[in-house]
């Protein structure tokens, strides 16, 4: 296939452009060794042109109607009318060109695609807004300084959120320390045991994942901080209490994700292990966990990403603090979401700008975590795909085997 592309010669008389008009939904895109290869149902340049033409005509028509002939309507009304006109014109043009069947197909395609675009709009706007607002006051000092000596007269670039970053890392780190063993144990219980209690436990985990996060904070506040709390003590407002609340939020996420990943491990591997005289615990530890390793890492990162952005559980646990407090076990502590929350509410333009910087840093942190999760996840699927494609290669063919195997080797060592 590939070398036919290299020796391709233009054949006199078959200009691909000529097929743009007429000829049904047939596309002649490439001249392939003297033959025209075509893909049915493909969007051709003719379709793109009719799309653009329809859009322009719809825009002009509506401009004419609303701006020239009438006193106008709201921008949203004009937009809506333009879209409807655009779809109608496109339908008529395509029906005229390719027939009714193709026209219906194209129109539905266009509507579905525009729905996709509409879904993207708020997301892009949100990210862009935070980016624009946050970049203004974001300097490198943000990662070094806390809010020492910050007064309303100082510019937004003064001070920083290092204390919040440290707080976030400590609280989430501790929360991971509590929730990971519990989550793993629960996932193993749900997936590897045969207890009749699995169903109730699963229902509880599901219910917990729907728990409003402020309730998690409230729970810690009511159960630990009110009865046992002393200022500066272990059960006062501090990062440790925050980590407990965050662990409550992370626990169901980690449990369910790990459970799903464990379920993907083929039963044949468990049987093989048991048939060699391994105990059930040994099988989970030496066969199931290593096989599900990448998926489990993804689960953990997703759990972290979930907890990093939580504000509500921290409100009456970490409480928030303007200065650096690197000891999570004593005294109120800041975290990035709290930093944003507390600054945005201040009646001070500069503080609000600092809040936006915090939001941007928080978003970047979540982005980095998701990137890590995606990287690990895709690494996993790549490995599986590579293995699947390898099975098609004859066993004696050494070269492709070597190539992919080196890839595996790196994966195993990591």
């Amino acid at each position: 296939m590939t070398d036919t592309y290299e020796i391709v010669e233009p054949v006199v008389g078959t200009t691909p452009v000529s097929s743009q008009f007429g000829n049904g939904s047939v596309v002649r895109s490439e001249t392939n060794g003297g033959r025209n290869s075509r893909r049915p149902r493909e969007f051709t340049s003719a379709d793109v042109w009719s799309l653009a033409g329809s859009a322009i005509s719809a825009a002009c028509l509506n401009w004419l109607i609303f701006a020239r002939f009438s006193s106008g309507a709201g921008w949203f009304g004009i937009l809506l009318c333009t879209y409807v006109t655009f779809v109608a014109i496109f339908a008529v043009v395509t029906a005229d060109r390719l027939g009714r069947l193709v026209a219906v197909d194209r129109v539905v395609t266009v509507i579905v695609m525009s729905a996709g675009v509409i879904v993207m709009v708020p997301l892009v706007l949100l990210v862009a807004y935070i980016l624009v607002q946050g970049v203004k006051a974001l300097r490198l000092t943000f990662f070094v300084h806390d809010q020492t000596g910050i007064t309303p007269v100082l510019p937004a670039t003064a001070g920083g959120g290092a204390h919040a970053l440290v707080g976030t890392i400590e609280q989430v780190g501790l929360a991971l320390l509590w929730s990971l063993p519990l989550g793993l144990a629960a996932a193993v219980f749900l997936n590897e045991s045969r207890s009749k209690w699995r169903r109730p436990v699963r229902i509880f985990v599901d219910a917990m994942s729907g728990l409003p996060s402020i309730v998690a904070g409230l729970f810690i506040f009511a159960v630990l901080i009110i009865p046992f709390g002393t200022s500066g003590g272990l059960f006062g407002f501090n990062g440790f209490m925050a980590s407990l609340a965050l662990a409550l939020v992370m626990l169901p996420t980690i449990t369910r994700t790990v459970e799903v990943v464990l379920r993907l491990v083929p039963d044949g591997l468990r049987e093989a292990s048991l048939a060699m005289g391994a105990s059930r615990a040994r099988t989970v530890w030496s066969v199931v966990f290593p096989t599900a390793r990448t998926g489990m890492t993804t689960a953990v990162v997703l759990g972290i990403a979930r907890a990093v952005g939580e504000t509500a559980p921290l409100l009456f646990t970490a409480f928030g603090y303007d200065l650096m407090n690197s000891n999570p076990f004593s005294g109120a502590q800041e975290s990035l979401p709290l930093f944003v929350y507390r600054n945005i509410r201040k009646p001070d333009v500069n503080a609000i700008a600092r809040g936006f910087s915090g939001a941007l840093v928080l978003m970047l942190l979540v982005l980095v975590l998701f990137a890590i999760a995606r990287f690990i996840g895709s690494d996993h699927s790549k490995r599986r795909n590579a293995r699947a494609s390898k099975n098609k290669v004859p066993a004696k063919n050494a070269t492709p085997l070597d190539l992919t195997s080196t890839m595996f080797k790196g994966d195993l060592q990591s």
């Binding site: 049987e271 093989a272 292990s273 048991l274 040994r282 290593p290």
Partner: protein, 291 residues
């Protein structure tokens, strides 16, 4: 018995140089099964899934060091019987059993015997090759040591010996650190055999080991089985009549009538079963008239 062992040594492919470690005896394991093949015998074995009796009154002796084939149509309880033999049956929720399974004369279901220890003595190879994907070839072979808590001082020797016994050594000796999943289907199955052999079991159970393999790989696995003769007791479930004829010394024909539990119709030497069966149903089955 003695002529069986001598037959097994002459069966080794004579064209290639003999593997050195095989001649100089076994790599020693600490905490492994007792050496040598062991006979395994079912006495009035029955099996249930829930209330459903799937296997009734099976009496079958599988002599030490010989190959016994279990044949019969699907759903007649061959695989269930095989899983009774190494206590894998009890892992299925709702599964129950009756009767005795004697390994070298003592019942494996006796109170106080650990199922894990039994399974170390009775290895199993499954229908679908299932090497551990997270482990290299070498780790796969040695996985039994870790899983069954057996110690071995000469791990390299054990890897080589097990792979040689599974006729895989020549193909993989240069890439022992590659993942086991990267091998072809037939190689994966032989890797699974090597993995089972590494703990030096007394009995090896094979549940349709070739049904997912192409004829060439099937041939290699059958050669492997032939070389194991005398070394370990092999019990193989197969749907392939020719395979049963090629590899086995003894044969048992299982059958289940509609909604009735499976039972053994006929058992005996393979050549008698295939040339001169007593029961007409056996004759029909081995000649391919049903099933």
């Amino acid at each position: 018995m003695t002529d069986l062992i001598s037959r097994s040594t002459t069966l080794g492919r004579s064209t290639e140089t003999p593997p050195p470690r095989m001649q100089s005896g076994r790599v020693e394991l600490i905490g492994g099964p007792p050496p040598g093949p062991a006979s395994i015998e079912a006495v009035d074995a029955c099996a249930w899934f829930g209330d459903h009796l799937v296997l009734e009154g099976v009496d079958l002796l599988m002599p030490a060091g010989e190959v016994t084939a279990l044949i019969g149509p699907s759903g007649c309880g061959k695989s269930t019987f095989l899983r009774l033999l190494n206590r894998m049956h009890e892992l299925i929720p709702g599964a129950a059993l009756d009767g005795k399974i004697l390994l070298g004369g003592s019942d494996i279901y006796e109170v106080g015997r650990r199922a894990q220890q039994i399974r170390t003595r009775i290895g199993m190879v499954f229908q679908k090759p299932n090497p551990f994907p997270a482990m290299s070839i070498r780790e796969n072979v040695l996985s039994g040591l870790k899983l069954a808590r057996i110690k071995c001082d000469d791990k390299d020797g054990l890897v080589e010996q097990s792979l040689v016994r599974a006729s895989l050594w020549k193909e993989v000796r240069d890439r022992l650190d590659r993942p086991g999943g990267a091998l072809s289907g037939g190689q994966q199955q032989r890797l699974c055999i090597a993995r089972s052999l590494a703990v030096q079991p007394n009995v090896l159970l094979m549940d349709e080991p070739c049904s997912a393999l192409d004829p060439t790989s099937t041939g290699r696995v059958e050669e492997t089985i032939a070389e194991l003769r005398g070394d370990v007791t092999v019990v193989i479930v197969t749907h392939n009549m020719q395979q049963a004829q090629r590899v086995s010394d003894h044969c048992a024909f299982f059958l289940a009538e509609e909604n009735q539990p499976g039972f053994v119709v006929e058992k005996g030497l393979t050549r008698d079963m295939f040339t001169n069966p007593i029961d007409s149903r056996t004759l029909n089955y081995v000649q391919g008239r049903f099933g």
